[in-house]
Amino acid sequence: MPPLPIPEHPPVAWYLILSAILFGLGVAGFLFRRNIITVFMSIELMLNAVNLSFIAFSYQLKQVSGHIFTFFVMVVAAAEAAVGLAIILTIYKNKSTLEVDEINSLNN
């Protein structure tokens, strides 16, 4: 079997596969971890994976609309991080724990 030729520019499929793997990592971290801050960081990983595929398609189709959507995703992620971290701080002040299983006051 001859060695695969190395492409001049990485094709769009490579970026999409990388983005899919990164999204899978984010899902795994979100579901496996119990520390609320790590769960929150997994969400950021997933958002970045989505941004990466937006940019990949934008580059492939030579349109900048994907850049604008990525920009909006980033701004919303910033707002989400600010509010989410404030909620985490409040929860820690009231319950002094960071485990997602322990925070079940909405359960019943």
């Binding site: 970045n48 940019i55 900048v64 920009f71 971290l85």
Partner: protein
């Protein structure tokens, strides 16, 4: 050739940082590996001629959001958090969800997206040069996407007010 080599470097950074981020016990280490992963993504943005988003990724994500994360981690007692059980016991359910999501993405990729190649061929003749991305982005942002831009600014204002309200000291 150089593009492909750089792709491998940035992809390794992104995936390695992501894996270490979700497996580290210490939250500070996890945040630092997440920064490495975000820098890898920023490099991939630059590789795809998204200069503006490369700068925004570094300034907003790494300089803003991740520093906020580190502040909160430092405010919270780390030793108690690291001593707690790290993984939830829901292995089967979580693994099933990950396999489902991965399979879904793989199916869409294998099937292909109709019209992707055709659209690329149509657009290829039009815009031409790959430089001047930032100008085109600004033109589009302040004409066609002006309303979403203003709505996002209201969202940011709501987030500021909300987080100040949540994090203030109760003095009653």
């Amino acid at each position: 050739m150089i593009d492909t080599a750089l792709f491998y470097v940035f992809a390794l950074m992104t995936l390695g940082g992501g894996i270490l981020c979700i497996t580290r016990r210490n939250a500070v280490h996890a945040a630092i590996w997440l920064i490495a992963s975000l820098m890898g993504v920023a490099g991939l943005f630059l590789l795809q001629r998204a200069e503006f988003l490369f700068a925004v990724q570094i300034v907003l994500y790494i300089g803003g959001i991740m520093v906020l994360f580190l502040f909160v981690i430092m405010l919270i007692n780390l030793d108690t958090a690291a001593a707690e059980r790290q993984y939830s016991g829901q292995w089967k359910l979580a693994l099933g969800a990950v396999v489902l999501a991965g399979g879904e993405i793989a199916w869409v990729m294998a099937r292909g997206l109709p019209g992707l190649g055709a659209a690329a061929a149509v657009q290829d003749g039009g815009e031409g040069g790959s430089d001047g991305n930032v100008e085109r982005l600004a033109d589009l942002l302040f004409s066609e996407y002006l309303l979403p831009f203003e709505i996002v600014s209201i969202l940011l204002l709501a987030a500021i007010v909300g987080s100040v309200f949540l994090a203030r000291r109760r003095t009653s």
